[in-house]
């Protein structure tokens, strides 16, 4: 300890200090980063389930009707057998049913149907859609997203899905 530390010894110590700091940083950073980006590593599984939502009898040919979609959902650690996933608009077409999501494809606000004007209107940026779901005005990049439906013993079933907002093509995000 008594000798004056030489310049090369000092540089060596500085390198070692840097290496040590980097090692400690890596021990924290590697698991830390994977922890933070965990949601990106999880695949949002597509919903392949048919969810019964309404009786065919109760639907109208003239106006779309909003019905809630209730199904099992796993949210982080909780699996709830009956969660309100959202709302779909249903309209009878003979023995078939036409279903539209209630999410505006612009930025995801919940659209409402105006019976007097016979169109869907978004409360956020005033996009408007025909009863078929086509864009009638406003900034929406595409029409309301249709959902697959089927009728089993008079019960209407929907394959519920969500789609990416703000793009012209339909991309399901599960």
């Amino acid at each position: 300890m008594s000798e004056e530390p030489s310049e090369s010894r000092r540089s060596a110590l500085k390198v070692l200090i840097g290496l040590g700091s980097a090692a400690v940083g890596a021990v924290l950073a590697l698991p830390g980063v994977s922890y933070v980006v965990d949601p990106l590593l999880r695949s949002a599984g597509k919903r392949e389930r048919w969810v019964p939502v309404a009786d065919l009898e109760g639907l109208s040919e003239e106006h779309p009707v909003a019905v809630p979609v209730v199904d099992e959902q796993t949210d982080a650690w909780t699996t709830d057998p009956a969660v309100r996933l959202g709302v779909v608009w249903l309209r009878k077409k003979g023995e078939k049913v036409h279903a539209l999501t209630a999410e505006c494809p612009h930025l995801g606000c919940k659209v409402d149907y105006q019976r007097e004007d016979k169109h869907f209107a978004c409360p956020c940026h005033e996009s408007k859609f025909t009863p078929e779901g086509d864009v009638r005005g406003g900034p929406a990049p595409r029409g309301l997203d249709p959902l697959d439906t089927r009728v089993v013993d008079g019960k209407v079933e929907v394959r519920f899905a969500r789609f990416r907002a703000q793009v012209a093509e339909r991309v399901e995000i599960g």
Binding site: M1, G20, V24, V27, L28, P31, Y35, T78
Partner: protein
């Protein structure tokens, strides 16, 4: 280019002067390994802040969700177990390094003038770190955290006059629950860390003002540079500490998660190991002296450490002259080590404690297994309440073990349930229904031993009766053998037993329809004196209305699982009579019969 940029930055911020004032410090007497503990603590504290914030991304301070969110961190989030493990072992490393830091400072006499305030601020840090350990222990809301905290807060309640109020304030009410977990959370992630940050800043600033305290024997003419000489030593210490924490995490799988907190379960609480000495101390203090262990001794220890700079006022920092003042620290430290060791010894030799730990671990393993399929909205206790393997034994121990024995536990006043419904159990009843472990201790004494049937027929009728309880999803039984057994049953048993609406011509024995099935067991639990069960001979209480439907279903499902067990105590091979005719077909019960253990 880089030089120009750093010149520009220095011009605007003056950062070079800042860095240089932080690093270019001369150390009187030279850099020393003895000085590394403070910076080691600082490094762990930073590590705890990083991992702590990460854990906060997932952890949810709610009675219903805390356990599940920690489960999710530990078993679902990528790298979660490692982050939690670092945080867990970081807390313990902090306690150890704090002790070493305090000891080093005491040995070197660094609490003396002019560093008294640094010493006091350091003592405050010690308290804050203990507070962080105590509050963090509860957050997973598992059995060990819940019960240890209950004990700790009750100790706070023993403080004279203000104790009960302090306890209510900490707990957030009279009962442990949502308010408790939120309060501990806020203390753990906001109040205590902010105080710690503030106090650490003061501690470091004071340290920089007065510098390191070289030992009395040091040659003061030697000058060391803080950077890189001391920083190098500090960094070696940090690498060893964080490396140790990472190694422990990797080898042990990180922090332990006990079974979800359940106030209704028996548990043997223990605090985290660094508080065990206090826990152990209380064993020696009877009620009237308890205050000595909870308040007086810890208070005296704190007061002594605080006053040390006043007691030991001499100029000399040489160890020899200060020994009388350091003696209490050594004695106290040895006492802490001894009590801790003794507590571990006590527990290692305490069978009841070990048993409760095993039981809790089994429950924890099962809860973690179930949580992989998602926790119901009602939380982990709801999840366990609907699990026959967890809830079944609980209900059984509470309601059934007073009369029945299952796997060696319980009282013998009614048939053993060990292996109930299995082939071995059925065979045993057929051979000796009045054995003590069957109906020998009950009023039911009318069934004739069936050993005279011979092995072949016994095997067949055993398979038939076993198959009566068969349900979808069970391992297959030997259909051909059971059909043979049905013939024997119809000829031999139906004089007394009812079966599918027929039989009981001579005597009114229990209905054997679907015997051993879930429906039959539930019926027996609900209403054992029904005509179809044991009727007038029944002594068992009816549980219809006594237990709710869930518990009846859980205990019944648990009892049905016993048929897949293979107990060897019920019927020994030599008990099975040989065939009188020496007919072939011996051992057919097992031939081709699938292994029944698959149901577990």
């Amino acid at each position: 280019m880089l030089d120009k940029l750093s010149d520009w930055l220095d011009d605007r911020t003056g950062y070079r002067a800042l860095v240089s004032s932080a690093l270019d410090e001369e150390i009187e007497g030279g850099a020393r390994w003895a000085y590394v503990f403070g910076s080691g603590l600082l490094a762990i504290f930073l590590c705890q802040m990083v991992t702590g914030v990460l854990l906060m991304l997932t952890y949810t301070p709610s009675v219903n969700d805390a356990w599940s969110s920690v489960y999710y961190i530990q078993h679902q989030v990528t790298g979660g177990w490692f982050v939690r493990g670092l945080h867990h072992y970081g807390a313990q490393a902090m306690m150890i390094v704090l002790g070493m830091h305090l000891l080093q400072v005491a040995l070197y006499g660094a609490y003396k003038k002019p560093r008294e305030v640094t010493w006091w601020v350091g003592l405050a840090l010690l308290g804050l770190v203990q507070g962080l350990g105590l509050t963090g222990y509860l957050l997973p809301w598992d059995q060990k955290g819940y019960w240890a905290t209950k004990v700790a807060t009750n100790i706070a309640g023993t403080v004279p006059l203000v104790g009960p109020s302090i306890q209510t304030l900490i707990v957030g009410g009279a009962d442990y629950g949502q308010a408790t977990i939120t309060r501990f959370y806020v203390l753990h992630v906001a109040v205590l860390p902010m105080l710690l940050l503030l106090t650490v800043t003061m501690h470091v600033a004071l340290f920089r003002k007065n510098g390191a305290t070289a030992p009395a024997s040091a040659d003061r003419s030697v000058k060391g540079a803080f950077y890189p000489d001391q920083v190098f030593k500090d960094r070696v210490c940090t690498v060893l500490l964080v490396g140790g924490m990472a190694l422990l995490t990797a080898t042990t799988g990180g922090g332990h998660l006990d079974a979800p907190a359940d106030p209704s379960l028996e548990y043997h609480p223990r605090p985290e190991w660094y508080f065990l000495f206090l826990f152990q101390l209380l064993k020696y203090l009877p009620g009237s002296l308890e205050l000595l262990g909870t308040v007086v001794l810890p208070g005296l220890a704190g007061a002594f450490l605080f006053a040390l700079p006043f007691f030991d006022r001499g100029d000399s920092r040489a160890l020899r002259g200060r020994l009388p003042w350091l003696a209490p620290i050594f004695v106290g430290g040895l006492g802490v080590v001894f009590l801790t060791w003794q507590s571990f010894q006590d527990d290692a030799g305490d069978e009841a404690f070990q048993k409760s730990r095993v039981a809790s671990q089994q429950r924890a393993d099962r809860a973690i297994e179930l949580a992989a399929n998602g926790v119901p909205p009602g939380g982990p206790l709801e999840m366990l309440r609907r699990d026959p393997i967890t809830r079944g034994p609980d209900v059984y121990a509470q309601e059934c073990a007073g009369c029945h024995i299952l796997n060696g536990e319980g009282e013998r006043a009614a048939p053993d349930h060990t292996g109930f419904g299995s082939r071995e159990w059925v065979m045993g009843v057929l051979i000796d229904p009045d054995a003590d472990h069957y109906f020998g201790t009950t009023d039911i004494a009318d069934m004739k031993p069936m050993g005279k049937l011979g092995k072949a027929k016994l095997d067949a009728v055993t398979e038939f009766v076993f198959a009566l309880g068969h349900q979808e999803g069970d391992p297959a039984f030997d259909k051909a053998l059971a059909d043979k057994g049905k013939e024997v049953f119809e000829n031999t048993c139906m004089d007394c037993h009812l079966f599918e609406g027929d039989g009981a011509h001579m005597f009114d024995g229990p209905d054997m329809t679907a015997y051993g099935s879930l429906k039959w067991i539930e019926g027996q639990v609900r209403n054992p004196d029904a005509e179809s069960q044991y009727g007038e001979l029944n002594e068992m209480p009816a549980f219809e209305g006594e237990l709710d439907d869930n518990d009846i279903s859980m205990v019944s499902q648990y009892l049905r699982l016993q048929r897949f067990d293979k107990p060897d105590i019920l019927v020994k091979p030599e008990d099975i009579p040989a065939d009188e005719e020496g007919a072939a077909g011996g051992g057919t019960a097992d031939a081709g019969a699938p292994d029944g253990d698959g149901a577990e």
